[in-house]
């Protein structure tokens, strides 16, 4: 029956469902973050709205929507208003190609692109435009500093991240995300690519501007960094973008290094595969929050030095060794 639907309708339905799932996931990632952080700090976190605070995201959404949407008089109005949408749009676009499980008729994704990984990286690196334009267009000092940092940080860490991923691509000899997962059916790439994995998770934290690499927001130095001037729903959009990016890099880490939906008994059972996938993604998300609850922010020069002098050479080394091994033994 599904095959009878026109393609555009099928894609539209899939996109809508996925959009709702991702937004819900965002809302509850945020709640989980507040809860886990609270528990790590001997607090209990939100617990008043709904049982165990489970309706807190709804309350937050209502609050965000009804807050006043301010535009500073010095801001560039068009770009200022547009920037949050760029951030969310690029963050969401990555989900067009991310597969979640393997069914009979191919992977469960909106589009099964054969250069999926390239698409994801191309799109997510556009996300920095949202942030840097927001800071630039705010017409105020702290946002500008935040966005300058964002641009520098995201570009430097993007390099190391891509390098670490190329190792995976070489080993799987495909750029299709489902192909990469299939290549891991026997051995997850976290084993042969352990250095790459380490570099990937570090750079992923930096790419999503999260603690300990949240120099872009750095409350104690830059008020709120690039989104200092934003309020109401536009601020909420940046929030959505940040968390969705976090979920995206978790999905990617799962696909590239943790075998995606592979797991005991998953072959031929797409739902079980989906469960494995979701568990792995949640483990990553927890790790993110855990890091935030543990590590202090890096100093800016250290961040740059770490990116260029440690991560990039390591990633290059990893890539070289992988290339040699693949060339000689595969």
């Amino acid at each position: 029956m599904i095959d009878a639907l026109p393609l555009w309708l099928l894609v539209a339905i899939k996109s809508l469902v996925l959009l709702i799932i991702v937004i819900t996931l965002f809302a509850y990632t945020m709640l989980a973050e507040r809860k886990v952080l609270a528990y790590m700090q001997l607090r209990v976190g939100p617990n008043k709205v709904g049982p165990w605070g489970l309706l807190q995201p709804a309350a937050d959404a209502v609050k965000m929507i009804f807050k006043e949407d301010l535009t500073p008089s010095t801001a560039d109005p068009l770009i200022y208003r547009l920037a949050p949408f760029i951030a969310v749009f690029t963050a969401l676009l990555a989900y067009a190609v991310i597969p979640f499980s393997q069914g009979e008729h191919g992977p469960w994704s909106i589009a099964n692109v054969n250069a999926g990984i390239l698409f994801v990286f191309a799109i997510t690196s556009m996300g920095v435009y949202g942030i840097s334009l927001a800071g630039w267009a705010s017409g105020s000092k702290y946002p500008l500093l935040g966005s300058v940092r964002a641009t520098a940080q995201m570009i430097s860490y993007e390099l190391a991240m891509t390098m670490s991923v190329i190792g995976v691509i070489l080993q799987a000899s495909t750029t299709s995300l489902s192909g990469i997962v299939e290549a891991q059916s026997r051995l997850w790439f976290i084993v042969p690519q352990c250095l790459g994995f380490l570099i990937y998770i570090i750079t992923a934290v930096a790419e999503t501007n999260r603690v300990p690499f949240d120099l872009v927001e750095a409350e104690s130095e830059l008020v709120a960094g690039f989104h200092t001037e934003y309020s109401g729903l536009r601020f909420g959009l940046f929030f959505i973008a940040e968390y969705i990016n976090m979920i995206t890099v978790s999905c990617l880490a799962t696909l590239l290094f943790l075998g995606g939906w592979n797991g005991p008994g998953a072959a031929g059972h797409p739902l079980l595969g989906l469960l494995y996938f979701v568990i792995k993604v949640f483990a990553f998300l927890f790790f993110y929050i855990w890091l935030r609850g543990t590590l202090p922010r890096l100093r800016y020069d250290r961040l740059m030095a770490f990116g260029w002098k440690v991560l990039l050479p390591l990633a290059t080394l990893n890539l070289l060794v992988t290339a040699i091994v693949v060339a000689l033994w595969y």
Binding site: V36, L42, R43, W290, G293, T294
Partner: protein, 212 residues
């Protein structure tokens, strides 16, 4: 970077997730405060119902925060408020300015102004936190007010439940948080706000004490 230290830190935070939480679920569970906690003021009466305050303005002078305004008035045989010559015609305390230091209590020659341990006074407007005589003076039906050294455990009768429970208190027993202006009764996890109907008794201390 010290990798070992990072893992130590991660282990610490992970361990803390399973520790006992320090949070007290405040509006529902209240922590007992110190017995002589300084909170909202009250203006006391003598046993015969006369106001203790003689409008001497000493508290106004003593107040480091300039929170008190006293305007004295003359007592006349027909209109007698206090035993002396004068009484407080106007008596206002701006509870937003007040730092709850208790200097007014110390300065008062007649032990009229005292600080009770009531602390839940939040409100929506600034003006509603300027407490005038109608909010400060103990209503005649409530007795004379209690001097700090007379309070059982330093806590006025309507906060007795807090005093009896050591560290936290179960609100199901019910108690009034603020009762000079608006009464807030916490009972069975819900908050009731009986409207003060023109000098009428809006609260029955006996019911609170007996209805547990």
């Amino acid at each position: 970077m010290n990798i070992i230290a990072i893992f130590k830190g991660l282990a610490t935070t992970f361990g803390y997730m399973f520790r006992r939480k320090a949070t007290i679920d405040y509006p529902f569970v209240k922590r007992a405060h110190a017995p002589r906690f300084h909170g909202l003021h009250e203006l006391r009466r003598y046993d015969d119902g006369m106001e203790r305050c003689i409008g001497c303005e000493l508290c106004q002078i003593a107040c480091p925060a300039n929170a008190i305004t006293v305007v004295g008035g003359e007592n006349t045989p027909e209109d007698r408020h206090s035993p002396g010559e004068r009484y407080a015609f106007r008596y206002e305390i701006d509870e937003l300015r007040c730092i709850f230091c208790g200097m007014c209590e110390e300065a008062c020659p007649t032990d009229a102004i005292t600080l009770t341990p009531r602390f839940e006074m939040s409100n929506y407007t600034r003006s509603s936190l300027i407490y005038d005589k109608s909010k400060l003076l103990v209503p005649a039906e409530y007795g004379v007010g209690e001097a700090p050294h007379e309070r059982p455990g330093g806590i006025p009768a309507d906060l007795g439940e807090v005093a009896r429970t050591k560290s936290t208190m179960n609100p199901e027993r019910g108690y009034l948080a603020t009762w000079r202006g608006i009464d807030i009764l916490t009972s069975k996890g819900k908050t009731y706000m009986p409207t003060p109907a023109g000098g009428e008794l809006v609260r029955e201390p006996e019911r609170l004490k007996g209805g547990e």
